[in-house]
Amino acid sequence: MAHPLTLITFIPLIGMILILAAPAGLVRWYKWIAVASAAAQLVIAAWLYTNFNTGTVAMQFTERYSWIGAYHIYYFMGVDGISISMVLLTALICFIAVFSSFSIDRAEKGYYALLMLLDTGMMGVFVALDFFLFYIFWEVMLLPMYFLIGIWGGPRREYAAIKFFLYTLLGSVLILLAMLALYYYGAVPTFDMTQLAAHSSSYTIGFQRIVWIALFIGFAIKIPAFPFHTWLPDAHVEAPTAISVILAGVLLKMGTYGILRVNFAILPAATHELAWLLLGLIGTINIVYGAMCAMAQKDFKKLVAYSSISHMGYVMLGLASFTAAGINGAVLQMFNHGTITAMLFLLVGVIYDRTHHREIDGFGGLAQSMPIYAGITGFAFFAALGLPGLSAFISEVLVLIGAWQLHPIMTTLGAATAILTAGYLLWCFQRIYLGPLNEKYAALPDLSAREIFMLLPLAAIVIMLGVYPHAILVLLNTSLVHLNQGVLAVATGPALPLH
């Protein structure tokens, strides 16, 4: 296959053009064009997975053409072990999100067109290797998201959309400044991330610190890391289900992906110095604080949103560990969180579609009227709380076992949060699905075939990666170990442990 990365990135854009060109009102056309684009993407992603060489740290499937010669800007794409896992995740989540979008019932043309544009933006972020190109995709993704929340969202959609937009725009500005600084102060003026990484030693440590922090804030907003996280619950609560799925499933991963791709690779010395504090400590705060906030939520979707914040904390903690186990666990956790949270948001959407509210205390005993739904939700909840044998367990264990050596106290806090997580999820499950049946909802229909079709692949992946995590880890390990060694190699002294 020629130019697989260009194809996988721009197929949705073609889909968008086709949707825009399609006659008005033919909603079925838009749906199936979107499905076809996403399916094509999934096929290419599968092809990439099977053809990926796990033995090398070099970028693969690269495409490199001069774009704006005067400023050394290239159209440069390629994937390594880190990004291929994210490409897989994006293709999968987008495919499911398209099906989940079938319940959208107004202005469908614009919706599907924007969804496709969003898809292109996300995929582009993960395959771009030129910082400039990366930044463009980063921004491309922002705009459709704003409209998708702001037009098709819930009652406070405008507030949420603007909050999301401004927050991420602030982050983008910092990333832009950092990008320009790297360009102008580097040994060679280039936006090529592999080149920047190769010349990382030419930046002074003081410069690295400033740029690192600017980039970190930019990416941390996306993760979202405490205290930049408050846009997330609002955005999730207001966004339509499919957009929540994409938001939690893919968008949040861009923050940690950016940290790996830029902070770790290009600024290793600053990474080594600052990671324990800004990634480790803030990650731990995320874990504990997110779980505590989730406990107190009354809105089902908000609870899931806070659980997302909590689970993304493990990614940060894993990155801060500087061990192969921790960093592999972190990226695996990115993938697992993507699949599990997607399930959770789909499940919230199921009940919202039927009852048009999400008050946890407003249900009760739904397991009697919707047994399949309750069963799958139970499965997803236990996956989310890290039940051994399911995927999240593996990644959390790897994160914590890696982090233990450097940060035993933070690791213990992270592990202890498993108790809190069990607390809020089981309590929530009890209030919604167990106990006496709320008569108002006695006649709710159980899951439709479409809903089961969306949930089953995710559930299968969750089980599969629980018993055979090797399928993803084999992609990651080579690249991550190389990256980690890069960080450790520049260390002039021992890291700053917290104990």
Partner: protein
């Protein structure tokens, strides 16, 4: 041990119950609707009994091997290989795990059969068997996992099944609350368990052997001697202590025992299988499995034995005053688990495991007998409303009585052989206080058990006439299981006779290859080996049992002593302490749960008001700033522009009057202007 026999048979022991569970969960509802409950019974029981058959086959295969070569490995696939941590999905069968496997599939299989009658009227029959099969699977993973993480998969897996089965009748929130409590309390223990694993991995990594495969840990454990751990403890002590804390959760020991009494909310077969015979013994199994580590940490051993003894005694004293038939048995289970921990805590690993096995027999029998009573009385669990049932339920009575004799330690029933060995070994290893607690506990056990027997089966019937009319003997499947377990409770003890009776202990010999690390042998050798003293102590134990039995007999059968009067003793302080279970639940609620809920709400408030407040404040400040800038723009900047245009307009309005259209007028103007210019020039020249 260097060359374990590789096999691909062991996997089927584990996978058959999983297969049963999968079929039940995915197709059970349909199968039950279309073909009836018999298909589900066949599937559910068949999977476990087939596993039992394979386990028996492997037992004989193992017995055919030389004792020091009795290790089998069934390696399925590489689980993960990251950062030096290489783990496989692999099952490790040795004498210890085959004992556990036989208990799980054997006693478990019996309980499956019992359930076909007991749960027969339940609409979610398939779901029950699905969870029961899944539990069997998870428990088998726990005992067969060849590395600590796989063990932990089973460890939490059984917790999940326990959660689901406690809350099996989920329409009642009491049941689901009990399930949540069980899961969350277990997770507290699990935290310690995982911390132990992290520390162990880090510790072994530091000495150059990063591994979590149990047989490799056993090989490299001696290298950890003297290694520094955390909290100022040596590494081995820290790891074993944390693991034991994990065990207190799963095996319901102080301080994490609070979930087990509540867990009785589940159907009775569940209580028998999970909360008596198998899952709760996982902690004991774990200590026995890792005996090579525990034996290296005398401080931990002391903690294990002390906690075990305290639990054994205190739980027994709570059992004395409970009135719910299952709750008495629950506290009895906690107490008996305490005995097992003392056994493994003083280095008598084989005795601990032996008690685990006999306890599985007689406690399952007791629970199932209680279940038979509850079944006969239409769900009644309060012993104050029972009585005289021995006439109408003779078989249940006989089996229950046999199991009672076993648990009390009346020779020659199974409990005597196992429990007395533990009590003696506690003394033999120099722990007098622990011995005293166990000895007293044995007396209390006899008292509450016979109290239960008398309240349930003797005296007059105190329930409703309707219940009296409906009381019936256990149906055939239940009866069969009760008899089988009663026989096991009676003769099961002969696998390991106390040393002073006869030097016959094939069970201990069979387990020897597992308990043969240097440290373990050292611990074992350090105890007293005095036959005559052992005989004397056995006599003392029997004395305590007799006293307890006699007291119960006088109080609850003959009515010579008044229970009400006894409860008034010392102003009722002891009665209230015991009846209120030492108020530990209330203490936890007030000390941990309530503050945590407050903290969580505070965090949410902080998030919504402070952090988001800062964000919103920044946003509104921006808006105010924009408004001010707007004012400036429209009044100052735009004002200037507007002023210019307005001034021009006004001037034009005035000046246009000069535009008369009259050419003559313009020329006059020009002329006048020329005149003025000339005049000015003339003046200027002057």
């Amino acid at each position: 041990m260097e060359h374990p026999v590789t096999t691909d048979l062991v996997r089927w022991i584990v996978l058959l119950p999983l297969l049963g569970a999968a079929i039940n969960f995915l197709f059970g509802a349909t199968l039950q609707k279309r073909f009836g409950k018999r298909v589900i019974s066949f599937l559910g029981c068949g999977a476990v009994l087939a596993a039992f058959a394979i386990a028996l086959y492997t037992l004989f295969a193992m017995l055919a091997l030389a004792p020091d070569r009795r290790f089998m490995l069934d390696d399925l696939w590489r689980w993960f290989d990251v950062g030096g941590l290489k783990l496989d999905i692999a099952f490790w069968l040795d004498p210890l795990s085959i004992v556990m496997v036989l208990i799980i599939t054997g006693v478990g299989g019996l309980i499956h059969i019992y359930s076909t009658d007991y749960m027969h009227d339940d609409a979610s029959y398939w779901r029950f068997f699905g969870w029961l099969n899944l539990f069997t699977f998870a428990m088998l993973v726990l005992v067969l996992g060849d590395n600590l993480w796989l063990m932990f998969v089973g460890w939490e897996g059984v917790g999940l099944c326990s959660f689901a089965l406690i809350g099996f009748w989920y329409t009642d929130l009491v049941n689901t609350n009990a399930g949540n409590k069980a899961f969350i309390v277990n997770r507290i223990g699990d935290l310690a368990f995982v911390v132990a694993i992290y520390a162990l991995f880090a510790g072994l990594g530091a000495v150059g052997h990063p591994t979590l495969v149990i047989r490799e840990v056993a090989r490299y454990a001696p290298a950890l001697a003297g290694a520094r751990g955390y909290l100022g403890l040596p590494m081995v002590t820290f790891v074993t202590l944390m693991l034991f804390l994990g065990a207190t959760g799963k095996s319901a020991q102080i301080p994490l025992h609070v979930w087990l009494p509540d867990a009785m909310a589940g159907p009775t077969p569940v209580s028998a299988l999970i909360h008596a015979a198998t899952m709760v013994t996982a902690g004991v199994y774990m200590v026995a499995r890792l005996n090579f580590l525990y034996s290296m940490a005398p401080a931990t051993m002391l903690v294990v034995a002390t906690v075990g003894a305290l639990t054994a005694f205190l739980a027994a004293t709570v059992g004395v005053t409970q009135t719910d038939i299952k709750r008495v048995l629950a506290y009895s289970t906690i107490s008996q688990l305490g005995y097992m921990f003392v056994g493994v805590g003083v280095g008598a690993y084989a005795a601990g495991v032996f008690h685990l096995m006999t306890h599985a027999f007689f406690k399952a029998c007791l629970f199932l007998g209680a279940g038979s009573v509850i079944h006969a009385l239409g769900g009644e669990q309060d012993m104050r409303k029972m009585g005289a049932l021995r006439h109408k339920m003779p078989l249940t009575f006989v089996t229950f009585f046999a199991a009672t004799l076993a648990i009390c330690g009346v020779p020659p029933f199974a409990g005597f052989m196992s429990k007395d060995e533990i009590i003696w070994r506690a003394y033999a290893h120099g722990h007098f206080v622990i011995w005293a607690l166990l000895w007293a506990g044995a007396g209390v056990t006899a008292f509450y058990m016979f109290r239960q027997v008398y309240m349930t089966f003797f005296g007059d019937f105190r329930g409703t006439p309707e219940q009296d009319h409906h009381v019936h003997e256990a149906p055939s499947a239940m009866a069969f299981v009760l008899v089988a377990l009663a026989i096991l409770s009676t003769v099961g003890g002969f696998a390991m006779l106390p040393g002073f009776i006869a030097p016959f202990a094939p069970f201990e010999r069979f387990l020897d290859p597992v308990f043969n690390s240097d440290a373990t042998r050292q611990v074992f050798a350090s105890g007293l080996h005095d036959r005559s003293l052992e005989t004397l102590f056995a006599g003392l134990s029997l004395l305590a049992v007799a006293a307890g039995w006699l007291l119960a007999d006088l109080t609850y059968r003959q009515g010579v002593l008044s229970a009400a009067r006894m409860s008034e003793f010392a102003g009722g302080v002891f009665y209230r302490l015991s009846f209120g279970k030492y108020r530990i639940d209330e203490f936890y609620r007030a000390a941990f749960l309530a503050p945590y809920l407050k903290l969580a709400n505070a965090a949410a408030w902080f998030d919504g008001h402070i952090i988001d407040g800062v964000v919103n404040f920044a946003a509104s400040m921006t808006v105010v700033g924009a408004w001010l800038a707007g004012l400036f723009d429209s009044y100052i900047v735009d004002g200037l522009v507007n002023f210019t245009s307005k001034a021009t307009l006004a001037a034009g309005g005035r000046l246009r009057r000069l535009q008369t259209g009259s050419i003559n007028g313009y020329l006059y103007g020009i002329l006048a202007a020329v005149m003025v210019i000339l005049l000015v020039r003339a003046i200027a020249r002057v």
